[in-house]
């Protein structure tokens, strides 16, 4: 299988809807090996909690927007690192 990341402006979008934990996190980490700005979409509440927690600890800048039962998690490498 392949992860398909759509490009939107400067960032790539990883759609993880309907995937159970921990796959959104695993895929996010995989994607971040290839891109520096990523938007992850998930409707899985545990993943919406795990991804920001873990990546913030790892030094990424993370913002989360929640709309219509979906979480959009914006991740980028922190310039201050």
């Amino acid at each position: 299988m392949k992860l398909k990341l759509e490009k939107k402006g400067e960032r790539y979008i990883l759609d993880c809807r309907d995937l159970t934990c921990p796959f959104p996190l695993t895929m996010t980490k995989l994607a971040l090996k290839k891109v520096s700005k990523l938007e992850v979409i998930t409707n899985n509440p545990p993943s919406a909690k795990d991804i920001p927690e873990l990546l913030t600890k790892q030094g990424y800048k993370v913002d989360v927007n929640r709309e219509d039962g979906l979480w959009r998690i914006f991740i980028q490498k922190n310039e201050d690192r």
């Binding site: 990341l5 309907d18 159970t20 796959f23 996190l25 895929m27 290839k34 899985n44 039962g69």
Partner: protein
């Protein structure tokens, strides 16, 4: 479009997941499906290793014959899945965290812990059902989870009335029971009803598949509270369900057997002689709580005294099978387990899900240690009814009221007292039992 190679994940998606915890400092649990509760000593040793490496050395037997680990770091989950994959095990898909419907899977197929030992061996049927539904794309987006129980021992050791579909062996076929569920989701607590037909062993798989197909096609997909199969059965009635099944796969012979055929609800096979003259012996495990050392001990003893096979029970206990020298085994087990406690006592893992202030397993312990009785005890921490409290002699269901933990008490399925504070539970159990006797 950027494409990233992720082939290593394809064998896990749809077959493995972590569940959501919210207590005891655990955020994620791992529920390993053990089809029919049948496990060999090598697998048990490896699960003990997983528990040590990833789950703080803790393990629980669930009331669906799974083994559940906690404190799982989602960052290491793929490594655990790889190990389970090599062992031939999968996990529940744990879609309950999703707020929408259509994340349901077929849960661990539970079976009489003594299948093949005191009754016909249904291992092939259990395996066929498990293999067919696990990871099958068509069946991992069910409206809601689906629970199947099978027994051939002519006893209710599998909580027949609590399942979406139960198959109860009557000597020349199965009587199906449909539409059970002990939680608050609509239409509320509902005991599975027998269908007045008999399903042969040869047709059992297609029957099960057809019932799950009907759940998939007709159960509600708009509201989680309405998405369990029990609501469909409640709305349709058993006759309409039977018509739909027979329209698809042909008629089944009629029988007039009713639920009274199940003489005692919720039995446990504690000890006895197998068909081949060997013995079985069930160790009571309070609340199903074990640790990795005990898992290894059990694995070792199963090899030393039997053929290395053990069975997990729906009362969260461990059954040793194929034992020749049962007295020596008991003496060994007695050094590590309290063999005097009752076998029929279950508590949901509310300490981990975080829905209780005074936890279910603690309540179970208090009752067991203070009430000298062989009555069955089931304590659910919340209205989801995971411990199947309506089926026990003494059933309790917890809720938080005005910031305080209280429990409602059921005696043999009948609500006898609401909103009891934990310290008063024993008093009301005693009173409730007197009332029932009177």
């Amino acid at each position: 479009m950027l494409e990233i190679e992720a082939d290593f994940l394809s064998k896990f998606i749809g077959k493995y997941s972590l569940g959501k915890d919210g207590g005891n400092g655990s955020s994620h649990f791992l529920r390993i499906k053990i089809p029919g509760g049948v496990l060999n000593c090598d697998s048990l040793m490896e699960i003990a290793d997983l528990s040590d490496e990833f789950g703080r050395g803790y393990a629980e037997i669930t009331d669906r014959q799974d083994i559940q680990l906690h404190w799982i770091d989602p960052d290491t989950a793929i490594e655990i899945f790889e190990r389970l994959y090599k062992m031939g095990f999968t996990t529940d898909l744990c879609g309950q965290a999703f707020r929408e419907t259509c994340h349901g899977d077929v849960r661990n197929v539970v079976c009489c812990p003594l299948m093949g030992k005191i009754s016909p061996d249904l291992g092939q049927l259990v395996k066929k059902i498990n293999d067919f539904f696990t990871g099958n794309e068509r069946y991992i987006t069910l409206p809601h989870k689906f629970k199947i129980a099978i027994t051939a021992c002519r006893n209710d050791c599998v909580k027949l009335f609590a399942n979406d579909l139960s198959l109860f062996w009557v000597g020349d076929g199965f009587i199906p029971l449909v539409g059970g569920g002990m939680g608050v989701s609509l239409p509320g607590v509902r005991f599975a009803e027998p269908m007045e037909i008999k399903v042969s062993l040869e047709r059992a798989f297609e029957f099960v598949k057809t019932v799950v197909d009907i759940h998939n096609e007709f159960s509600n997909t708009h509201s989680k509270a309405k998405a369990r199969f029990k609501l469909l059965v409640h709305e349709w009635g058993v006759e309409k369900l039977r018509d739909e099944i027979e329209k698809r796969i042909g008629a089944f012979p009629e029988t007039s057997i009713t639920r009274e055929i199940v003489k005692e609800i919720g039995i446990e096979h504690t000890h006895g002689i197998q068909s081949d003259g060997n013995y079985f012996f069930t160790v009571p495990v309070l609340g199903g709580i074990l640790d990795s050392d005990k898992l290894r001990l059990v694995a070792g003893l199963s090899k030393d005294y039997g053929n290395g096979e053990i069975r997990l029970t729906l009362w969260q206990n461990i059954t040793f099978v194929d034992i020749e020298d049962v007295e020596t085994l008991k003496a060994e087990l007695g050094k590590h387990f309290n063999l005097e406690i009752p076998h029929r006592a279950v508590g949901c893992p509310s300490d981990f899900c975080g829905k209780t202030l005074v936890h279910s397993k603690q309540i179970v312990k208090d009752i067991i240690h203070n009430l000298a009785s062989d009555l069955s005890v089931a304590v659910s921490g919340c209205v989801n009814g995971c411990a199947c409290h309506p089926l026990a002699d003494i059933g309790l269901v917890g809720k938080i009221k005005h910031g305080e933990q209280v429990y409602d008490l059921y005696i043999r399925g009948k609500l006898v007292k609401k909103d009891i504070r934990p310290e008063k539970i024993l008093l009301f159990i005693t009173e409730g039992l007197h009332e029932i006797k009177a």
